[in-house]
Symmetry: C2
Subunit: 191 residues, 2 copies
DNA sequence: ATGGGCATGTAAGCGGTTACATGATTAT
DNA sequence: ATAATCATGTAACCGCTTACATGCCCAT
């Protein structure tokens, strides 16, 4: 579910084979954002089964044949649907990088027009604000109950985290408001 | 693996039955830090199988019998071993609340002496610093490559996150240095 | 009567990681 | 010699979530 649309987005920008998607993720961000073989190849198979991508097999002299994937029109529609749609409530227990629906989408915001980006960011900002307020209420309760200071600090971690998210979202909103923030998508085959 | 020791720690403080552990987590932090039935009861069974907890069945008039769990001496040793041991490299993709080994341990720092807490926190601080530096290098690379500003922002998210962690850890270290930060553990049966 | 609280569990599924499997090429 | 790079995949496992199952009590 989660990673599939990210892969779809990357292949949409640059028709590529599995290995190059992997390398691209690792190089363009940081090694830890790379994707796992055991997840990458099954994901490509799923996307193909759904009719969202199609492969062209390119035989190699020495290594296994490359599967050059490209996104079908149906895949492109699906990607746009996903990108503009509602993110849903964030799963507080899954705050990993690619698991964070909003952050994942952020990788493809240049394919979305400014107003949609602003709308998504503002909704996310509301969520961060609400979550922060909840945690502050919980912290007040702990404070009044005279609890263990280390447990109080655990909530403080969450409070700081949500504050950081709000600040980051405000920065994103500011950038989205700039006159020439959006770069047109490039389409080049890779590998 | 992960949640098991947290449960062990809670039961060590207050011998309790499953349902009350659940309620306790939800009430003392925030509803989202609650534990799932499908995870709680199997976890208790695992802890029992390992000989770390033992139950006393308390029949109820109207509801199913309560299983009052308490930690065995072996369980207490295991808990101390886990609490003081090395956390290991954080899994960057699992940044959820209970998945974060350091944060999880933080709930039980009052059972650890100040020096151990400081040592753990300083190691964690080093990690946050290192991760932050890595992300900043990656951001520089993106900057030089003239990449999509939204993707640059994704890395910024990580950078801000690690900065937040550093600040929080410094606060924790400051608290740990205070004269009377440590509250003696309470032991009361609950439910 | 309906839903929530109390109290215990089980089963199915999902996303993700780790390890396995293959095999030539190139760099240290 | 050894490891890393390129290039594809499969299998087993793990932690967690969701849904199911039971049943009594109390408040609305």
């Amino acid at each position: 579910m989660s990673i599939d649309h990210a892969i779809l987005g990357f292949v949409l920008e640059q028709p590529a084979h599995g290995y190059s998607v992997k390398k691209w993720l690792e190089s363009s961000f940081s090694s830890e954002f790379g994707i796992n073989d055991g997840q990458l190849y099954p994901a490509l198979a799923r996307l193909e089964a759904r009719g969202w991508i199609k492969k062209r097999v390119v035989p190699q002299r020495r290594s296994p044949a490359k599967h050059l994937w490209r996104v079908t029109p149906a895949g492109e529609r699906e990607f746009q649907r996903w990108l503009g749609g509602d993110v849903g409530e964030p799963d507080a227990r899954a705050e990993g990088f690619w698991k964070q629906a909003f952050l994942q989408r952020c990788a493809f915001f240049r394919h979305l027009d400014r107003d949609d980006v602003r709308a998504l960011a503002e909704r996310e900002l509301e969520r961060a604000t609400r979550r922060g307020a909840e945690l502050e209420r919980a912290a007040d309760r702990l404070e009044r109950a005279g609890s263990d200071p280390y447990r109080r600090l655990m909530l403080d971690y969450g409070i700081r985290y949500q504050r950081m998210r709000r600040e980051w979202l405000l920065e994103l909103l500011a950038r989205a408001a700039e006159p020439r923030g959006v770069v047109p998508p490039t389409k080049q085959a890779v590998g």
